[in-house]
């Protein structure tokens, strides 16, 4: 995803001289071509993310289209107040890019886990949250973010995510993306976890719908899905503050009779060693975990015996 991000940004920067990339001293070699082609539009801001965020606000205030780029926790929760006050309160068109969504850097430990970013950033008014699933959707989401008039958060994995889309899909901010039709439950998910959920969908004969815009939520689309009566959210993010919590709040207020199962990262620090695959399994959000939990839930509901 990050390679697609860098390549697409280079293409867009050739068309739009307002694009300026700020990095928090990461992306070694990743932006070499960008730097070479646009030497006055790349700035390594050092390991100083709060300042980088404020600098981006100043650039946007002067009419430029800056992006801030570094590892997710450092670009989000570390400098949350700068995103809130300098970018969001002023409604400035800055794209905050977090690389290493969810458990992408699982092996690096809780300092690098990013399972709270959507919950915290989701509290900020006017901030759009975009969560693409693979390289091609990353390109589409980046275009949408840079065409958007307000602030955006772009949640990327790292590299080597399996392809979901065989071509760059259209991207409409705030729209659900149906991917698989099934006869049983509806699985809702986003980001690089999507292939696991699609596999679970096949095993369960479930409908799978991606939610690449976690905020604003496509409530009209959700209302249509809720009519099926069985919704499941699956995410590489804490249950509290993620998509599951947002759908739960919407569902309770909507009065729809649908039942909801939320799967995600439990409310605890993940302190044992292990890569993304192992941690997903431990959290029950790999394909096997999703299938097993959905089956148990349906038995509890009396849907199946």
């Amino acid at each position: 995803m990050r390679n697609a991000f860098a390549a697409c940004l280079e293409e867009l920067a050739a068309q739009d001289p307002r694009i300026v990339l700020l990095s928090g001293d990461i992306g070694n070699r990743l932006f070499d071509r960008f730097k070479e082609r646009f030497p006055g539009r790349f700035y390594n801001c050092g390991v100083a993310e709060a300042n980088m965020t404020g600098v981006a606000a100043g650039l946007a205030k002067a009419g430029l289209r800056p992006l801030t780029y570094t590892i997710t926790p450092f670009n989000t929760t570390r400098c949350l107040e700068f995103i809130k006050l300098d970018i969001c309160a002023h409604r400035l068109p800055v794209v905050v890019v977090g690389v290493g969504a969810g458990l992408s850097y699982a092996e690096l430990g809780p300092t690098h886990h990013a399972c709270d970013d959507l919950g915290l950033l989701g509290l900020l008014p006017d901030l759009t949250l975009l969560c693409p699933a693979d390289a091609r959707e990353t390109r589409a989401a980046l275009r949408a973010a840079l065409a958007h008039a307000g602030p955006c958060y772009l949640r990327l994995g790292k590299k080597g995510e399996p392809d979901v889309f065989d071509a760059e899909p259209p991207f409409e901010i705030g729209a659900l993306r149906p991917l698989r039709a099934g006869r049983e439950v509806v699985l809702l998910t986003y980001g690089p976890l999507l292939p696991e959920v699609l596999a679970a969908g096949a095993a369960l004969d479930a409908t799978v719908v991606a939610v690449p815009t976690v905020k604003p939520l496509d409530t009209a689309g959700l209302a249509a899905l809720a009519a099926t009566g069985r919704l499941v959210t699956v995410e590489e993010h804490a249950l509290r503050g993620g998509l599951g919590a947002a759908v739960a709040a919407w569902l309770a207020a909507s009065g729809q009779p649908a039942r909801l199962l939320t799967l995600g990262v439990p409310d605890q620090f993940l302190v044992t060693a292990g890569g993304q695959e192992a941690q997903r399994a431990a959290c029950g959000i790999d394909t096997a975990g999703i299938v097993a939990q959905v089956r148990t839930w349906r038995q509890q509901l009396g849907d199946v015996t």
Binding site: V20, G40, A62, H90
Partner: protein, 279 residues
């Protein structure tokens, strides 16, 4: 916009009179609005007047950024001073000041985005102004504009780590169009600044970070304007340490940190205005 001519004796008298009037407004605003931070507002009056009446291209006829100089008022708790100076300069009618901190009006105790014409950034949480000023200064260079950016900080604000992140960034990017003024009134909310965190000597700190520095009497309009004029055509950002007195201009408030939070009574407003030579 053309640059203003050098400050002359007559212009200096105009600004000195404005300083008295602005101080009178600030004291009355604090009383009417029951809004604190009076001492912090009184210490930065000349710093602001020297900017809005001095060498910067700050003019009420051009309020939209970025085609003019910018002033980021980072010590947002002292916004009464900026409101009063902007009104004096004609950005909005003077009678708006009477609405300061009144429920439902446009002038809150800390500024919000777009609350008054001429406000370049909403602040109130300390340590945010300098990074944003760095961004504006960098944008001017990227876009080939000859604009300058001034950030007004307080000495207490220099406690914030983000100030020093930005202080290291600006010289690395050779932001010669950036100027910081530290309103060094020697106090922060609950104590003498050097006793709370060991940030003195301030000028040496900024110099060590790679800034050109000047230390001036922050109530000396001519000295401030001269220092501001120095911030031109250099590749090095400039930090002006403006030594000021908290509560300046009202004898019973000067260097008394109770006026960080205390509100003046009607009698104290009258006494202050009399001392300032205002009717």
């Amino acid at each position: 916009m053309k640059e203003r001519p050098p400050i002359t004796g007559n212009r200096l008298r105009v600004l000195a009179n404005a300083a008295r009037e602005v101080r009178g407004q600030i004291v009355a605003m604090s009383h009417r609005g029951r809004a604190a931070h009076l001492g912090s507002a009184l210490s930065c009056v000349e710093i602001l007047l020297a900017a809005y009446g001095g060498p910067f291209r700050l003019d009420p006829r051009v309020v939209q950024l970025p085609h003019r100089d910018a002033l980021i008022f980072s010590k947002g708790h002292a916004i009464a001073a900026l409101y009063a100076v902007l009104a004096w300069r004609g950005y909005f009618p003077l009678d708006w000041l009477e609405t300061y901190a009144q429920p439902g009006t446009a002038l809150p105790e800390h500024p919000v985005p777009g609350c008054v014409p001429g406000l370049d950034h909403a602040t109130g949480s300390l340590g945010h102004g300098l990074p944003v000023a760095c961004g504006l200064a960098l944008a001017a260079r990227i876009s080939g504009r000859d604009t300058r950016v001034l950030a007004v900080l307080s000495d207490g604000e220099c406690n914030e780590g983000a100030v020093w992140e930005a202080a290291a960034f600006a010289p690395a990017q050779q932001l010669g169009n950036l100027l910081v003024v530290v309103d060094a009134n020697g106090w922060q909310a609950t104590g003498r600044s050097p006793e709370v965190l060991a940030l003195e000597p301030l000028a040496a700190k900024w110099a060590a970070f790679g800034w050109a520095t000047r230390e001036v009497d922050g109530h000396d309009l001519a000295a401030l304007v001269t220092a501001y004029r120095q911030a031109r055509d250099a590749t090095q950002p400039l930090a002006v340490i403006a030594r000021t007195v908290k509560g300046r201009g009202v004898s019973f408030m000067e260097d008394d940190n109770n006026w960080h939070y205390r509100l003046p009574t009607a009698a104290e407003v009258a006494a202050a205005r009399a001392e300032l030579g205002l009717a």
